[in-house]
C-alpha cells in the first residue's frame, strides 16, 4: 500500500488530495484546503502546504509521516496584481458648497442672501436678505428666538446654516418657513458676508435649482464662461436633499482631470499606445490586437505609469527577481465610478469620480518549484516530486467530473487569474493565463461602494444580501422573508446585511440593497464573463469559441453563488454546454489540480506495472 498526496499551490489557496494505492487500486481517502502562505512558488508556501495536509488528514488515522509521496505541480510562472487610480478629481477653491445629505434638514424652499454670524443679526440693518451661520455654541431655542426677533423687526432672513443637528427643532419654532441646512461639520470654513443660496427639498425629493448649472447661473448672475465653471458644483449636488452654494469673488471650482497617461503595449508583432481616458473597452481592444503581449508599460510621470511600476515593483520584491525581468503579460482594464471626498468641501461631501481598475499579470522566470519541493522534503521527511504542468493536471482532474469526455475545455477561475485550457481528441493541450479574477472583483466592489476594508468587500462578494426589516425579520434580496424567534441585535436594525450562514454582517453605507446587488453583479460580470470569453477565445481552435462543445468551470470562484450562472448564460449564446465541475463526483469545482496530480501519477505508474 502507498499513500500519495497531490498538492496544488494556488494564488490564494493550497489544496490537497490524498489517495491510497493498493494492488493497483486507487482510492481517494481525503481532501484538504488552507490559505496559501506567501507568494506561490516561494519557500513560504511550506507552512500552507503542511496546514492543508493536516486539514486533509484530520478525519483519517494517518499522520503526515505516513505519506509515502507528495506530488507538486509545475506552477505557472504568472502572478497577478491589481491597482486602481482615479482619473478625475473635484476641487473647490475660494468658493464653498455644502452638499451633504443630513437626515433631517429643517424647513423647505429656496433662499438667497448674504451670510452673517448669528450674533451680528440683531445689529444688522441693511436692505439685503441674510442667511445666519449658527455654530454649535447655540441652543436651538436661542436660535429660533433670534431669528423670530429679526423677522419681527422686518429683517429679511432667507435661510440658515447650522452646525448642530437642530434643523427641524429650529424650523418648528419659527414664524415663517425658511430652508435650514444642518449638520454642517466645518461651519467655520463657511465664508461670512458672501452671497449664498440655500435650498431644501421636501422629503422624497432632491434639490432642483442648485443641481442645475443654469439654476446657479440665474441665482448669481453668471455669464456663459462662469456657468461652465459651476458645472462640477451642480454635478456634486445632484441627488441631495439640501444644498448651499456660496459665491466668493474669484471663486474657482473645477473638476481637474489628472493626466492619466498612456498605456504602451508591446506585442510580438506590433505595439500599441492607448490613452487611459479612452476607457476600458478601447484598452481591451488594443490588448486583443497586439496579442501575444511581451510587456506593458505606463507613460512615465503619469498615474498609469506609477500604477504599472508599482505592480512590477511589488512582484519583483515578492519573487526576489530583478525589476527589469518583470514583464507584464496581460492586463484587464475596467472602468469604475468611485466616490471621493470633494477637496474643499465643508461637510464631507463626496463626488463620483472616474477611475480605472487594472489587473496585471506578471511573467516571472520559472517559479522555483524544485526548491520548494526540496525544502518541503527536508522539513517533513517525506519524498516530494514535481509531477506535471498545472494546466494538464487541471484537465485530468476536471475529467473526473461525471459526464465529461475529451475534447474538453476548462476555465479555472481563481483569486488572481482566470486560466483556460483545452485538450483535443488527440490529447494535445493548450493553455492560457489572464489577469483579473476574484481579487479584482473584490477591489471593484470595495471601491465602488466605498467600503472600509477588503474583508467586508469580500463578504459582499461571497454572500447574498438581506435587509433587516424589523427586530424579528429580514427580507432576502430575492424577496423572501425569514423570521427569527429572538430579537435581532440593534446594530443591524434596518441595515443591509450580508448573510454569512447564521451571522448577519451589517454593511455600513448609505447604499440601498438594490444598488449593492447591482454593483456586486456588475463587478463579477465585468471581470469573469469578460475574462472567460477572452480566455476561451485564446485556446479555442482557430480562436472560435463556437467550436467548443463542453466547458467545465473549476477553481475557487466557480464556487460562487452566481458567477457560474453568469458564465453559463454567456456561453449559452455560443451553443456551449458549460457548467461547474464536480471533481471526483464529490468535490465540486475545487481540488481539480490536486486530484489531477494523483491521477496522473497513478496513470503512468500503473501502465509501468501492467
Amino acid at each position: 500500500m502507498a499513500l500519495i498526496a497531490g498538492v496544488d499551490i494556488g494564488n490564494s489557496t493550497t489544496e490537497v488530495a490524498i489517495a491510497r494505492i493498493d494492488n493497483s487500486q486507487l482510492e481517494f481517502i481525503a481532501s484538504g484546503i488552507d490559505r496559501t502562505t506567501g507568494v506561490k512558488g516561494t519557500k513560504q508556501n511550506i507552512r500552507g502546504i503542511i496546514n492543508a495536509l493536516t486539514d486533509a488528514l484530520r478525519f483519517t488515522s494517518y499522520d503526515i509521516d505516513d505519506i509515502d509521496l507528495i506530488l507538486l505541480n509545475e506552477a505557472t510562472p504568472v502572478i497577478a496584481d491589481i491597482a486602481m487610480e482615479t482619473i478625475t478629481e473635484t476641487i473647490i477653491t475660494e468658493s464653498t458648497i455644502i452638499g451633504h445629505n443630513p437626515s433631517t434638514p429643517g424647513g423647505i424652499g429656496f433662499g438667497v442672501g448674504k451670510t452673517i454670524y448669528l450674533k451680528d443679526l440683531a445689529a444688522y440693518n441693511g436692505p439685503d436678505a441674510v442667511i445666519p451661520l449658527v455654530d454649535n455654541g447655540y441652543d436651538f431655542a436661542e436660535v429660533a428666538a433670534a431669528i423670530n426677533q429679526a423677522i419681527d423687526q422686518g429683517k429679511p432672513v432667507a435661510g440658515a446654516i447650522i452646525q448642530n443637528d437642530d434643523g427641524v427643532l429650529i424650523s418648528n419654532r419659527l414664524k415663517y418657513i425658511i430652508p435650514i441646512v444642518d449638520e454642517v461639520r466645518f461651519i467655520e470654513k463657511v465664508p461670512v458676508n458672501m452671497q449664498a443660496a440655500v435650498e431644501v427639498a421636501e422629503s422624497g425629493k432632491t434639490v432642483e435649482t442648485l443641481s442645475n448649472p443654469f439654476g446657479i447661473a440665474t441665482v448669481f448672475n453668471l455669464d456663459s464662461e462662469e456657468t461652465k465653471m459651476v458645472v462640477p458644483i451642480a454635478r456634486a449636488l445632484i441627488g441631495n436633499r439640501s444644498a448651499v452654494v456660496i459665491k466668493t469673488p474669484a471663486g474657482d471650482v473645477r473638476a481637474r482631470r489628472i493626466p492619466a497617461g498612456k498605456l504602451q503595449i508591446f506585442g510580438q508583432r506590433h505595439n500599441a499606445s492607448i490613452d487611459i481616458e479612452a476607457g476600458s473597452d478601447e484598452i481591451m481592444t488594443s490588448v486583443e490586437k497586439v496579442r501575444p503581449i511581451l510587456d506593458v508599460r505606463g507613460e512615465a510621470g503619469t498615474n498609469v505609469g506609477g500604477m504599472t511600476e508599482r505592480v512590477r515593483a511589488v512582484m519583483s520584491k515578492l519573487t526576489g527577481q530583478p525589476l527589469e525581468e518583470m514583464t507584464i503579460q496581460d492586463i484587464l482594464a475596467v472602468d469604475m465610478f468611485v466616490p471621493r471626498e470633494v477637496q474643499g468641501g465643508v461637510a464631507g461631501e463626496t463626488a463620483l469620480e472616474n477611475a480605472v481598475g487594472l489587473a496585471a499579470m506578471v511573467k516571472t522566470n520559472r517559479l522555483p518549484m524544485q526548491q520548494v519541493a526540496e525544502e518541503l522534503q527536508k522539513e517533513i521527511g517525506v519524498r516530494v516530486e514535481i509531477e506535471g504542468v498545472e494546466a494538464n493536471m487541471a484537465i485530468i482532474g476536471a475529467l473526473s467530473t461525471p459526464g465529461t469526455a475529451i475534447p474538453l475545455a476548462i476555465v479555472d477561475m481563481g483569486g488572481g487569474s482566470t486560466d483556460a485550457a483545452i485538450i483535443s481528441v488527440s490529447g494535445e493541450t493548450y493553455s492560457t493565463h489572464l489577469a483579473g479574477a476574484g481579487d479584482m472583483t473584490t477591489m471593484l466592489i470595495k471601491s465602488e461602494l466605498d467600503l472600509d476594508n477588503m474583508d467586508i468587500a469580500e463578504d459582499v462578494k461571497r454572500h447574498p444580501l438581506a435587509r433587516v426589516e424589523s427586530m424579528f425579520h429580514i427580507r432576502m434580496e430575492d424577496g423572501s422573508v425569514r423570521f427569527y424567534n429572538d430579537p435581532l441585535p440593534a446594530h443591524v436594525y434596518s441595515r443591509v446585511v450580508v448573510l454569512k450562514g447564521e451571522t448577519l454582517e451589517p454593511i455600513i453605507s448609505h447604499h440601498s440593497m438594490e444598488r449593492i446587488r447591482t454593483v456586486r453583479r456588475e463587478a463579477k460580470r465585468r471581470v469573469f464573463v469578460r475574462n472567460v470569453l477572452r480566455a476561451l477565445r485564446q485556446v479555442a481552435p482557430d480562436g472560435n469559441i463556437r467550436l467548443l462543445d463542453f466547458v467545465v468551470m473549476v477553481g475557487g470562484s466557480a464556487l460562487d453563488f452566481e458567477i457560474p450562472e453568469m458564465v453559463t448564460e454567456a456561453l449559452a449564446e455560443y451553443k456551449i454546454v458549460a457548467g461547474r465541475a464536480n471533481i471526483r463526483g464529490s468535490m465540486g469545482p475545487r481540488n481539480a489540480v490536486a486530484t489531477g496530480l494523483v491521477l496522473s501519477y497513478f496513470g503512468h505508474n500503473n501502465r509501468g506495472k501492467a
Partner: protein, 119 residues
C-alpha cells in the same frame, strides 16, 4: 395616570420618573424625537425602573414605541413586540442629556425603520 386621547397616544411615548433629573433627560429625548419629525408625548410616572417604564410607554403608544427614563439616569427604548425584559436599546444609569437626545432620535428611527445612530 390621566386619561389620554387617541390623538395624544399617536406618538412616541416617553415615560419618566417624576423627578427633576429624569424630567430633564425626558425633555432631551423629546428633542431627539422632534428633530426626526415625529410626535412625542411625555408622561411622568410615580416610580419604576427604565425597562418597566419603557414597557409601559410602548403599551401606551399607538405607534408601539416607548422610551423609559428613571431617576438614576438609565434610559430604555423598546417596542411592543419585544420581550418585556429585553429592550431594543438600553443606556445604563448616569446617562447625560446628549445620550438622552440620541435615544429619542433612535426611538423615532425605530418607528421609521432607519438604522440607529450610536454616537
Amino acid at each position: 395616570m390621566r386619561d389620554l386621547t387617541a390623538k395624544e397616544t399617536l406618538s412616541i411615548v416617553v415615560c419618566h420618573e417624576d423627578g427633576e433629573s429624569a424630567r430633564q433627560l425626558a425633555e432631551y429625548a423629546s428633542r431627539g424625537i422632534e428633530e426626526e419629525h415625529m410626535p412625542v408625548l411625555l408622561l411622568p410616572v410615580a416610580t419604576g425602573n427604565s425597562i418597566e417604564l419603557a414597557r409601559l410607554a410602548c403599551e401606551t403608544s399607538l405607534l408601539a414605541v416607548g422610551v423609559g427614563i428613571d431617576q438614576q439616569g438609565s434610559i430604555s427604548l423598546t417596542h411592543f413586540q419585544m420581550p418585556a425584559d429585553k429592550p431594543v436599546l438600553h443606556a445604563p444609569s448616569g446617562s447625560d442629556t446628549r445620550k438622552a437626545r440620541l435615544m429619542g432620535g433612535n426611538a423615532a428611527r425605530l418607528y421609521k425603520r432607519i438604522p440607529f445612530i450610536f454616537e
